[in-house]
Amino acid sequence: MIVAGCDVGSTTGKAVIMNDHTIASYTIMWCRPRPEETARIAINEVMEKVGLSSLEELDYIVGTGYGRLKIPFANENISEITCHGVGAHWLRNSVRTIIDIGGQDLKVIGLDDSGRVIDFVMNDKCAAGTGKFLENMARALGLTLEELSTISLEATNPAVITSQCSVFAESEVITLLNEGEEVANIANGIHASIASRLVTLVRRVGAKNDITIAGGCAKNAGLIDVLEKRLDTEIVRLPEDPQIIGAIGAALLATERLERSASSK
């Protein structure tokens, strides 16, 4: 039984192929303007990695992510909230809270002991606290995203950024630079401003341990460091790339669909 999960987000496309509950291959790519194109390229890449040449060789494909309705070859689409829940719980069944920070939105998902989604909150249509926000801030500081992440850990006296709005926050950053503030302190302040927003959302869904993090921003060590301090708890890391949790969940749900239809026959 060979299945795929394809997660077309706002910024990156991810695909995972699973063979009988084992991850056979995965890929992460920057989005093309059209979600159909992103999906097509991502699925071709993962198929190539395991020597598949035709979509027909995949028994079932579940699409998810912001572009899930535009994945032409998917058998079904399932929301990224459900997929993240399934993926994270499969990787670590102690997980009860998932923070997913994508390119343009962020979600906090609460799970029950069986991994079912019991609650979720999302940010509103705005870049506050998302990957887009970090990209803007890094640009204002003349850093890459990786540099922004690591320099933040060297902060001695974190700056305070009060604005949640990415446009206003950028002008705060520029003001701080003009005042001669250390870049490390500013970087830390940027992460703290996202973390404070996340703390609210995490507490809103109950903040049950274990808490984990997924999505592209989960690769930002500076952000996680601040977040752990603010939440006063460890954020557990999943044993796979945090960007593919949704795609893994989609592939698992594809497997489940096949198993269910086989048992009902």
Partner: protein
């Protein structure tokens, strides 16, 4: 065209041929904002009550001259439509203190900022109590009576008790018909969708009631013969304030949910209770409009309201509740949280959705609703 199509299409435009014909015959139209305005008074004066909405609005720039970003977008779009003269079919407007947003945008009318077809334009702010008790019921009766007298005086008409009694009967008939429509939605395979039901209730507030009743009877015959909808993943109750956009419910229903009942302003709350036909008409109207079994969140009887919604959920066998609220709406901000807490306690999943008057951020809404329906997993 079927009667169902004839009625639901009225929801898609601000005015319609029924209103145009009414105006051509010299009839007057009085706008009102909220389900606390006794339609029977307007009807007994020989006029057409029209529930205010801003259908067709695409921006609120003229409304925003007087309203701010902390005013809800329903009020801002209504004011914008008013500033543009889109309500030129109105001969008067009445509102009440439902919330500050309505009252303050009504001020733009009171201070002459809105172009009107004649001057001084008929404007009336009804003073509706917030509590339900003997004293406030008496005050309500006084208000209904003053409303009646102000219409009589302004338009030089006489509203007789006989006319009032007839209006009450006609509106009660409308309410009974709408209730029988909702009764059909209790079926395992309801013959109409939530989006269609919303369209019908909007139609009931946008055309002469006698013609509406005739059309609705026809429509009930039509849908009785129709195959019901059974391919849904969850039966839903949709609660919340002002919603007059069928596309909003269509989006929920495209994702597999079926809205089988509601607690909406332009919905069940508009028509649920009957007026006593045997008592003195003004007192009967005061009692019905004040003591309604499901109040607006402006009223303080929240426990009664919450119980009504929870009973409704059981009666219509819903799998989940969605509460939609306009951003900046304080009334529904509190009630949505209370509804969610109670429904979760009772084991019914509940999702709160914030929205703007014009449908926007459809992608985010779709993700939220789809994820919610997936968690119900019927």
């Amino acid at each position: 065209m079927t009667a169902l199509e004839e009625l639901t299409k009225l929801a898609d435009t601000l005015t319609n041929p029924y209103i145009e014909r009414w105006k051509e015959k010299g009839g007057k139209v009085i706008g009102y904002y909220c389900c606390y305005c006794p339609e029977e008074i307007i009807h007994a004066a020989g006029m057409l009550p029209y529930r205010m909405r801003a259908t067709g609005s695409t921006s609120s720039e003229l409304g925003d001259v007087y309203a701010s970003s902390t005013t809800c977008t329903f009020c801002r779009h209504c004011l914008d439509q008013a500033m543009r003269g889109e309500y030129k079919f109105l001969d008067g407007l009445t509102t009440l203190h439902g919330c500050d947003h309505i009252s303050r945008t009504f001020d733009a009318w009171r201070y002459g900022k809105v172009p009107t077809p004649y001057s001084p334009f008929y404007l009336r702010l009804l003073d509706i109590p917030f509590k339900i008790e003997a004293l406030s019921l008496e005050w309500m009766r006084v208000q209904v009576d003053r409303f009646k007298r102000s219409l009589e005086e302004h338009f030089q008409v006489k509203i007789t008790d006989e006319a009032l009694r007839q209006s009450i009967k006609t509106y009660n008939e409308k309410r009974r018909l709408l209730k029988s429509l909702y009764e059909l939605r209790k079926k395992e395979a309801p013959p109409i969708t939530g989006a269609e039901a919303l369209g019908i209730v909007i139609a009931s507030t946008s055309m002469p009631v006698e013609e509406f009743n005739e059309q609705l009877k026809k429509m009930l015959d039509e849908v009785n013969g129709r195959d019901g909808f059974s391919d849904y993943s969850a039966r839903l109750l949709l609660a919340g304030g002002e919603l007059d956009d069928r596309a909003y419910i269509e989006l929920i229903e495209e994702l597999g949910g079926l809205v089988v009942t509601d607690a909406l302003c332009v919905g069940l709350r508009q028509f649920w209770d009957l007026v006593d036909e045997d008592s003195e008409p003004i007192a009967a109207l005061a009692k019905r409009y004040l003591e309604r079994s499901i109040s607006c969140p402006r009223m303080v009887d929240y426990q009664r309201r919450l119980k009504f919604i929870s009973d409704l959920a059981k009666e219509f066998k819903v799998d989940g509740i969605i509460v939609q609220r306009l951003k900046m709406c304080d009334n529904w901000g509190c009630d949505s949280a209370l509804i969610q807490r109670r429904s979760r306690k009772e084991g019914t999943p509940c999702l709160i959705l914030e929205r703007e008057y014009l449908m926007s951020a459809v992608g985010q809404m779709r993700t939220r609703v789809q994820a919610f329906l997936e968690t119900i997993g019927r």
